[in-house]
Amino acid sequence: MLRVLLLTLSVVAIAHAGLCKPDAQNAFKVRLSIKTALGDNAYAWDANEEYLFKAMMAFAMRRYSSKSTTQISNVLLCNVTDRVSFWFVVTDSSKNVTTIPGSEVEAAIRMNRNRINSAFLLSDKTLQFVKITSTLSPPVEPSTPVWLIVFGVVLCLILAGIVFLVVAGIRQHKKKNKKSTERENLEEKCEVTITVENGIPCEALDLKAGHINGVFAADDERFTSL
């Protein structure tokens, strides 16, 4: 009796060991980067952490399929490395020596990814299920783009400034029009005394002490028009 029991147990154990291998069917590789995520607060990966992982996987399967049949002993871990990475499969307790299809496991993990991550204080990047890509969350987009709001504010300020200056300029023009009539009379008198209109008074030309610049000599303004 005892021998038969031992035999069946060893067969089951060997069979189970056969189920969990790298690249086995329905097996997934998991990679944790605890030191990268937590730095000095990193915990060591030991048998207790493995137990928690098995528990989380069982929890995920139960939530997904809402059958309370998955046990912690159904989750098999193997090939744990220093990296920390390992492979796991979930066996089906109702059928002997078979694994639950990978698609179901994947769907269960996707559904509960957040819970699994927070159990280990990690994130999607630091707790990687190698074949399961995470959907990226879209960035929050407000209804009106922020830049249009800032643009609108600046535009209103600039337009207000322009309107203010233009109006002030028109007012100044009206004041100047009164003054300019007086100045125009003065300027007409001055035009007669200064022969060249561009602001160089004749005295500057006298510095040449009698030399006449050939360019100006050919200038017809010396001839009075008939």
């Binding site: 990226l136 800032v150 643009f151 322009i162 003065l186 300027e187 561009n198 360019v215």
Partner: protein, 599 residues
């Protein structure tokens, strides 16, 4: 009489004080070129060693020509067209050419301000929009184009410019960019609306604010991790570059264009001066400040480069380490940057097959290679800097500061450009009596804005490059050459010297006269010959187009009509000079004939 003189002179607006004039010149001269061109030249032509040809050119070419233009403007008290008419009636074409070149410049330059506004408005988000790639349509990964290149380049080429693959595919006007361009022109209009009255106040801000931001960035930049790498890289002089003639030519070109000579803006600014203003001192101050700002800006740029290169280098190392750890299931922390090479050899020896399988993905990370990527122009300002900013803490603050600085630099230069166009227009009696200052300024801004919409199309960036490279370069060299020869040989250097003496009470010493008469014209002629021969020898002109599938720039040839446009740009400004002389000659001939027939 004294009363007459006062009446004549009061009619011209003046700067409130000489400080406004100096600030206006600094604001105009210190522009984007100091920030995005000089650091590139420094890097290409020998780091610290480039400063030697730079300073020699500053003293031989920059200061004398700047003094000349300021003196001409201050003496003649007119914009560029009027001033050159006084020097000699046959030279009115020089003034017209300056106005035409300024017009081209203002058309395309304000687009940079539009881009700066765009980035500024997008800086008020967390995270910054250029920090991450957008997701693709089914949310499984990032946009393909963004994956092949980086998120900052994607934001610039796709979301800002929405660039087309080539010049021929013009695409439509991007309404977002058009809005920003309109805003940029409204800002410029606000500043020039009342002439020197408003410009004089605005330049206090546009001249000083960039320095405040540069100081903040200097402090931030020097404290960044890895900044020292960039600074060492920049300042180690590679003196063998001094034997490369291109270094000297680039130094001369940079000084020339950085000071903004030949556009007529400096003449316009100086014409609003009191005649007794000491323009010699101001010329020296402005040119020294301009050069000092270039060096200051390149220190900031190189600390930012160093930070970005170090960051990329360390990211590259971390990627390699992660890849090795995952493949060989090594313990975390066993692979570090220090033992990486030994561990690689060890792994190659112990697991040769898997290592060979992995080796195409294992890039050799090199800090030198990251630092060697020399960038200039819009690429530096908008891509490299935004990439560095996104990795700093509180990136929104630094982003806002940086783009406000770019805006100040750009608007300061725009004020000078528009002054160069408006001063001759307001000087001319026919236009000034019919329309007021506000209307003329408004018309100029409006026309420029409408034409500038070309640069907001999908191919707009390529047209921008055409204008940037060809609209001003050759023409300016010719204009300034004619200016120098005109003042020295046509007007007469002794007469000019006497004018300056009556005006300011000091004679220019032998150094200035020597530079004006011989050194500067010779330098300009050699630059001119070099550029002409360069254009002729290279055959077809080419441009860099963005390839979305590869995620990088590719070289393409310009199509025929683009080449025609380039020719038109250069020809329209250079032919003004002989045309002006011809028109004056014909006019005088006609007058003389009409007088002699009636006499």
């Amino acid at each position: 009489t004294a009363a007459c003189k006062q009446a004549m002179e009061k009619s011209r607006p003046l700067w409130d004080n000489p400080l406004q004039f100096v600030f206006a010149c600094i604001s105009y001269a210190v522009g984007l070129g100091n920030v995005w061109r000089f650091p590139y030249l420094c890097q290409m032509y020998g780091g610290g060693g480039f400063l030697i040809p730079y300073f020699i050119m500053l003293i031989a070419e920059g200061m004398p020509l700047l003094y000349l233009e300021l003196a001409v403007g201050q003496r003649m008290r007119k914009g560029s067209i009027g001033a050159w008419k006084i020097i000699s009636p046959y030279l009115c074409g020089v003034g017209v050419a300056s106005v035409v070149v300024s017009f081209f410049l203002s058309m395309y330059y304000n687009v940079i301000n539009a881009w700066a506004f765009w980035y500024l408005f997008h800086s008020f988000q967390d995270p910054l929009p250029w920090a991450t790639c957008p997701l693709n349509s089914n949310r499984t990964g990032y946009e393909e184009e963004c994956e092949t290149t980086s998120s900052t380049q994607y934001f610039w080429y796709r979301q800002t410019l929405n660039i087309s693959p080539s010049l021929e595919a013009s695409g439509g006007v991007q309404w977002e960019q058009a809005l920003c361009l309109t805003l940029a022109w409204l800002v410029v209009y606000l500043c020039i609306l009342r002439g020197t009255e408003s410009t004089g106040k605005v330049v206090y801000v546009t001249a000083s604010l960039p320095y405040c931001v540069l100081i903040v960035y200097l402090i931030r930049g020097l404290t960044l991790h890895g900044a020292v790498n960039g600074l060492i890289y920049m300042f180690t002089p590679k003196l063998e570059q001094l034997s490369n003639p291109k270094a000297w030519i680039s130094a001369a070109t940079q000084i020339f264009f950085s000071l903004g000579l030949g556009f007529g803006s400096l003449i316009a600014f100086a014409s609003y001066n009191e005649p007794s203003n000491n323009c010699e001192r101001h010329a020296i101050i402005v040119s020294l400040i301009n050069s000092a700002t270039s060096i200051f800006a390149s220190i900031v740029t190189f600390s930012i480069y160093g930070f970005k290169a170090t960051f990329n280098y360390e990211s590259c190392l971390n990627r390699v380490i992660l890849l090795l750890m995952n493949t060989f299931d090594l313990e975390e922390g066993s692979l570090t940057a220090d033992n990486l090479s030994e561990m690689k050899d060890y792994l190659m020896a112990t697991h040769p097959q898997e290592y060979a399988h992995l080796s195409p993905q294992l890039k050799n990370c090199s800090l030198e290679a990251e630092l060697d990527t020399a960038v200039q122009g819009t690429g530096l300002a908008f891509i490299v800097y935004s990439e560095a900013i996104k990795n700093m803490e509180v990136p929104q603050l630094y982003s806002v500061l940086y783009f406000i600085m770019l805006l100040m630099l750009g608007i300061g230069s725009m004020l000078g450009n528009t002054a160069a166009i408006l001063t001759p227009l307001t000087d001319s009696r026919t236009i000034a009596t019919r329309f007021s200052k506000e209307v003329i300024s408004g018309a100029v801004c409006f026309i420029n804005c409408v034409i500038g919409l070309i640069f907001t199309m999908e191919a707009g960036s390529y047209w921008f490059d055409i204008f940037n490279d060809y609209a001003a370069t050759l023409s300016l060299l010719l204009i300034v050459l004619v200016e120098t020869i005109a003042v020295c040989y046509i007007y007469g250097i002794r007469r000019f010297e006497k004018d300056l003496y009556t005006m300011t009470g000091r004679k220019p010493n032998w150094y200035w006269k020597l530079m004006w008469a011989f050194a500067s014209p010779l330098l300009i002629i050699s630059l001119f010959i070099f550029y002409l021969s360069d254009y002729i020898l290279t055959g077809t002109l080419q441009y860099q187009a963005w390839d979305a599938t590869q995620g990088q720039l590719v070289t393409k040839d310009y199509p025929g009509y683009a080449l025609a446009m380039i020719g038109l740009l250069v020809a329209s400004s250079t032919t003004c000079i002989p045309l002006g002389a011809l028109v004056t000659f014909i006019r005088k001939r006609l007058k003389r004939e009409s007088v002699s027939t009636t006499a």
